[in-house]
């Protein structure tokens, strides 16, 4: 069994479920210690950012961009309003970790956002939460109320002259609003569509002001990194892959759950923690980082460790840390058709390749699935996916294309079988 579980974002997990999320619980694990230190000592933000860089914390929202580096792009001392925005939209299929941070440790996110605000010169923060998260939203709002009441948020905090206000903003059911610039549009009250970059949010973000956007888990990691030191965090994982990470293990496993384990934990250990493959079946494939990343055959996965670099070597991406387990007997055409439908449904529609291409992919895949495929369809799918990837305004295009290309790469024979025989090679699911 993996040691060192639940050391960062889940550090309240051992507390009683009923009170786990409260301010008192959080204080009992040393919570808000770092925020109070910042308010009392007013350290040079640059030293805090250095600590983050040392920790090798990489963005937990999917792209894995180093968080310390991102913060250093902000024109911290330039005049004018700046914003810190937390991305709790958590729309990536398979991902459900941010939900549990909001449910079980909301104060740590608040503390992380406040410290982030201090580091980048933002006095206002927004937490953009997926609208379907009724319970987590309530938990977070409750925590906000407690933090304000305790004088940890608001104006001139602890007499330091530092201000920080934090607001909740709810999504309305669009996956695309998890993309950081679409999220900003959505907060501004506009149609959630990604912006063309440059300019990047650090130059012109929310309401045109410099803005940093981070994932819930990234921000919630910050207080512990500052408490225990960047080196400690780095040591939890591997070089360039600092810290533990939350993995949402779902799909054909016996005990789906979120696990906070060190980066570099072997996949097989994680699979064991989730109770192994359902019904004792063999492992067929894994989508290791949320539905947008390439699929990896099971045998490769069993020899891969769960960190950014190792998964990249295995031909995929760590993404958001959503590990979708697929058991032997599953029809891969069906899996892909399902994913393709998702991306076609969630494309924002503004740019041509994604608007038109995702629907095309989905239609062809469903045609194949229903026994009306043609041999030429497979090259068509691969080619159409290639014409979407890398040519769109945001990464949703890539996210839609990558599964198609990887499924065809590893499971082409299943598609061919279905086209030839009009029924799937694998019937069970």
């Amino acid at each position: 069994m993996v040691k060192d579980q639940n050391t960062v974002c889940f550090r309240t997990m051992h507390l009683k479920e009923k009170v786990r999320h409260t301010l008192d619980s959080y204080l009992s694990v040393g919570g808000y210690g770092q925020w109070k230190r910042v308010l009392n000592e007013r350290p040079d933000p640059a030293t805090l950012i250095e600590e983050l860089k040392l920790s090798a914390l990489r963005g937990r929202g999917g792209a894995g961009f180093p968080t310390g580096l991102k913060w250093s792009f902000m024109p911290r001392s330039a005049p004018g309003q700046k914003y810190i925005v937390c991305n709790s939209d958590e729309g990536e299929p398979g991902t459900c970790k941010d939900r549990d941070i909001l449910r079980w440790n909301p104060h740590q996110l608040i503390e992380g956002m406040a410290i982030a605000g201090y580091c980048i010169g933002a006095t206002v923060g927004y937490n953009y939460i997926r609208g379907e998260f009724y319970e987590p939203i309530a938990r977070f709002d409750e925590a906000l109320g407690e933090a304000y009441a305790a004088g940890l948020l608001g104006r001139d905090l602890l007499g330091s002259g530092v201000d920080f206000d934090l607001y909740t903003h709810l999504g309305a059911g669009a996956y695309i609003c998890g993309e950081e610039t679409a999220l900003l549009e959505s907060i501004e009250g506009k149609k959630g569509q990604p912006r063309f970059k440059p300019p990047f949010p650090a130059q012109a973000g929310l309401y045109g002001q410099p803005t940093t956007i981070n994932n819930t888990e990234s921000l919630a990691s910050v207080p512990v990194i500052l408490e225990k030191g960047g080196q400690w965090f780095l040591d939890q994982g591997r070089p360039n892959n600092g810290g533990p990470k939350l993995f949402s293990v779902t799909g054909h496993v016996n005990a789906p759950n979120n696990f906070e384990v060190p980066l570099g934990t072997p996949f097989w250990e994680l699979l064991e923690m989730a109770g192994g493959v359902k019904d004792g079946k063999a492992l067929k494939a894994v989508i290791p980082g949320g539905s947008s990343v390439p699929v990896v055959p099971g045998n490769i996965m069993m020899n891969t460790d769960m960190d950014y670099d190792s998964i990249a070597k295995a031909g995929s991406m760590l993404g958001s840390g959503a590990v979708i387990v697929i058991a032997e007997g599953t029809c891969m055409v069906r899996v892909l058709a399902n994913l393709a439908h998702f991306y076609a449904h969630e494309s924002c529609g503004q740019c041509t390749p994604c608007r038109e291409g995702t629907g095309w992919l989905s239609r062809v895949l469903h045609r194949i699935l229903h026994g009306h495929g043609r041999p030429s369809d497979l090259d068509l799918l691969d080619n159409v996916a290639g014409r979407i990837g890398g040519r769109t305004i945001c990464a949703l295009g890539d996210a839609a294309a990558m599964p198609v290309q990887s499924f065809l790469q590893h499971y082409r024979h299943e598609f061919e079988h279905l086209i030839e025989h009009g029924r799937p090679m694998e019937q069970a699911a």
């Binding site: 924002c348 529609g349 503004q350 995702t358 095309w360 040519r391 305004i393």
Partner: protein
């Protein structure tokens, strides 16, 4: 620009400014990059992905193809627009754009001038790989001007960005996601902005097309004739698209200094009026048994004899001569020449003015005061009596740009105007406009002489007045402040006083002063001498003739009306009709038959309308713009200048031997060679008392709605069906309505002196208290009196009343 950088596109070295987009540099170099969403005048959306190119910077290739429209150049950048990678990206986009687009160009109105069709010739495949079902999108009714076939939409969002950025009203937007993204109005309203027709040009495909034009011709059947738009003082450059001697549609012609790439809907759709059933196609004479057609030869002799008889019997001073300010320069010049040749003096083209007390003080050649494009650079503008969006749509657009760049726009007007930018508005009933101006003048520290001084000193200056004055002062000090007088100031019985105050404000703040000339050739009329107190070249006359109003209040024995419908084109229709009806001879030279003309005229002479004659317009900025006739006038109608030439010859007047309109232009131009527009007043404005409404009366505010300004627009059916063409009604302030016991929708009888008309009441607090807004120049308004003047309102008890 000092810091030029060098980039390479397709192996060609190009100079560029840092920060420019690749596509801008390529366009300048004549290297064509396909595009759909990009448009010079709109923000960059980078959504169509048609312009993808390959690029490298500092020897490092960009990992993905980049959109040329949204990628700024850097020194040493190398761009490939036609490499294998670039072409594959462009072809990929093309394929995506076509999969759901109907491939039925032969039945699409855009066919032959479709950007998608054109680009697909270069980047599309012969056979589609798409075998799924195509998308079908429901159409929306956008009103009488714009037809939709939304299945053809390629989601470039040009139309959406036009609304948000240029029009300032988000009439269209995108709803839905992915394949279900739709361009529409959200709530199914008519697209009514006065510039909205431009989205027809912007739409690269056949999704948005011209409703009046569609399916009537093919692009390749049309010849494009350059012309100048005739309905306002902008002088927008246009193209008349002609087939078989008929104007089929009107498009803008680029002119950055004047209309940029836009035209107003009025200029775009008014051509429909050319083919109206009310066109006069033969000379007509009124006999005992009514109107009868006649021939030119005999009718002109009859007219010449008639005019000579009046001169012989009663003196040339008994001739009244009124010319529409939208007539060509050549017509105006010959018209005044003919009258003055007969010894007459009473000529005017200022048909919507009633206070001429400022004639002696007025600048000789009033104008906008600055080039049109410079409006954008103003930092503070005070508009006096102007519904500028309706009067001069494209000048309003320039002001909007100034306002969005931070300029203060103040407005003193009888009603609140729906501007699409921040503004400081001081709505005041017509009799109170002067008081508001005096308050601004006072806040600006203006003094003034004699009674003006008293008016300013006793004015009640509030915060808004002070704010406007301060902004004007600051802008004035930097040389970019402007005070502008519009059509409602001109129609005011206090026009002289308003001008006096406007000049006081301009002086005290260091701002420039400008006039918004009401028609396409109002400025030209001053050059041509079509005024009672000015000869050609704006030279002074010894004894001024009667102005437009005096010709009616002191009725003449004979009148010549040029391009005028008495019920709609004169400031006081009731009085005009009475005066004309009592005359011995009324000669109407007109392109349209109208009931009021038929009632008062003795002969109707058919003259060319816009597009049917060559001529010249001088716009608000003093630009002389010549144009050629593009189509022949209908039936026996003739260009106006030819009619005047023949009549001049028949009357044996000298100086009517012109062979062409060009000769007439040249003759006048020679007399104007040393003349330029200039707003310096020639004397102090006399200050009378203000026209306050008497007890129990309201002051009528008779604005001319955008689609009522002239006969051609009034005869254009599609424009008449838009929401901007509201039927006759009385708008009242809620407090006034309450005092009169009136409610929204009540029927009232409005009395203006002896004149009467019935209409419904609209209650709105846009209108200042004490005003009663009744549009002029719309059906039914011809029975009423002065555009601005006292009215009495009485409820008509209808069937619904107990």
């Amino acid at each position: 620009m000092s810091d030029k950088i060098t980039i390479e596109i397709d192996g060609r070295t190009c100079e560029a400014a840092p920060g420019e987009m690749i596509i801008t540099v390529a366009d300048r170099e004549g290297i064509s990059i396909p595009r759909f969403c990009y448009h010079e005048k709109l923000s960059i959306a980078a959504n169509c992905r048609m312009c993808l190119v390959e690029a490298e910077q500092g020897g490092r290739p960009f990992p993905k193809p980049v959109p040329a429209c949204a990628t700024p150049v850097g020194d040493g950048m190398k761009v490939q627009t036609r490499s294998r990678k670039a072409l594959d990206a462009q072809r990929g986009t093309m394929e995506f754009l076509l999969i759901n687009h109907p491939l039925d160009c032969p039945i699409c109105d855009q066919g032959g001038e479709c950007e998608l069709q054109d680009v697909s010739m270069g980047y599309g495949e012969d056979v589609s790989r798409f075998t799924e079902r195509k998308r079908v999108v429901k159409d929306e009714d956008l009103g009488p001007l714009i037809a939709t076939e939304m299945t053809r939409c390629i989601h470039c969002t040009r139309c959406v960005r036009f609304g948000a950025e240029i029009a300032g009203v988000r009439e269209l937007g995108a709803t839905g996601r992915g394949e279900d993204m739709r361009i529409g109005t959200f709530v199914a309203h008519t697209v009514a902005h006065e510039l909205s027709g431009n989205i027809i040009d912007l739409c690269p495909v056949g999704a948005l097309t011209s409703k009046p034009y569609r399916f009537t011709a093919r692009a390749w059947e049309l010849t494009a004739e350059p012309s100048i738009a005739p309905h306002d003082a902008v002088g927008s450059n246009i193209q008349l698209h002609v087939r078989n001697g008929r104007v089929m549609r009107v498009h803008p012609r680029d002119n950055e200094a004047i209309n940029e790439t836009w035209i107003s809907d009025r200029d775009r759709f008014s051509y429909e009026g050319l083919n109206a059933a009310s066109r006069l196609t033969a000379p007509m004479i009124k006999g005992d048994s009514g109107w009868a057609e006649t021939d030119w030869q005999s009718v002109l002799h009859w007219v010449a004899d008639g005019l000579q008889r009046v001169v012989a019997d009663s003196g040339a001073d008994q001739l009244g001569w009124l010319m529409a300010p939208g007539s060509t320069l050549e017509e105006l010049y010959l018209g005044q020449k003919l009258l003055r040749g007969l010894g007459g003096r009473n000529i005017d083209s200022r048909l919507r003015q009633q206070d001429f007390s400022g004639d002696a003080a007025d600048p000789a050649l009033p104008w906008l005061g600055l080039p049109i494009a410079d409006l954008e650079q103003q930092r503070a503008v005070l508009l006096i009596g102007s519904d500028i969006r309706q009067e001069q749509p494209l000048l309003a657009h320039r002001l909007r740009k100034a306002a969005l760049a931070g300029a203060m726009v103040g407005l003193v007007n009888p009603y609140r105007v729906e501007l699409t930018h921040p503004s400081r508005q001081l709505p005041a009933a017509p009799g109170r406009l002067a008081a508001e101006l005096a308050a601004i003048a006072k806040a600006a520290g203006a003094g003034g002489r004699s009674s003006l001084k008293g008016l300013i000193a006793t004015a009640d200056s509030g915060d808004v007045h002070a704010e406007i004055a301060a902004a004007l002062k600051q802008a004035g000090a930097d040389g970019n402040g402007l005070v502008l007088l519009g059509a409602l100031a001109e129609a005011s019985p206090d026009f002289g006083l308003l001008k006096a105050l406007a000049y006081q404000i301009a002086d005290a703040t260091g701002c420039r002063i400008g006039f918004l000339p009401p028609a396409a050739n109002s400025t030209g009329a001053a050059f041509a001498g079509a005024l009672p107190h000015r000869l050609p070249g704006a030279r002074a006359v010894d004894v001024p003739g009667l102005d437009a109003l005096a010709q009616l209040t002191e009725p003449r024995k004979a009148y010549v009306l040029w391009g005028i419908d008495p019920a709609h084109d004169l400031i006081d229709p009731a009085r005009a009709v009475a005066a004309l009806a009592g005359a011995d001879l009324v000669v109407a030279c007109t392109a349209f038959r109208t009931p009021s003309l038929e009632a008062v005229a003795d002969v109707l002479l058919p003259i060319s309308a816009f597009a049917e004659t060559s001529g010249t317009f001088v716009n608000a900025a003093g630009d002389w713009q010549r144009f050629q006739g593009a189509v022949a006038p209908p039936g026996d109608a003739r260009p106006g200048w030819k009619l005047l030439r023949v009549l001049g010859n028949m009357l044996e007047l000298t100086g009517f031997e012109y062979a062409s309109a060009r000769d007439i232009h040249d003759a006048l131009a020679a007399q104007c060679a040393d003349r330029a527009p200039d707003n310096t007043p020639r004397a102090e404005y006399p200050v009378g008392t203000t026209a306050e409404a008497a007890d129990g009366t309201l002051m009528r505010v008779g604005n001319v709605p955008i689609y009522a300004v002239d006969a051609l627009v009034r005869a254009a059916p599609a424009l008449q069906r838009t929401p901007l063409s509201a039927p006759l009604h009385l708008q009242l302030h809620p407090a006034d309505a309450e005092a009169l016991g009136l409610q929204d929708g009540d029927q009232v009888e409005v009395a203006q002196g002896p004149a009467r008309a019935c209409m419904p009441v609209h209650v709105s607090d846009d209108l200042a208290r004490g005003g009663g807004r009744i549009p002029a120049a719309v059906p039914g308004s011809g029975q009423l009196g002065a555009q601005i003047g006292p009215i009495r309102v009485a409820k008509v008890s209808g069937e619904n009343d107990q």
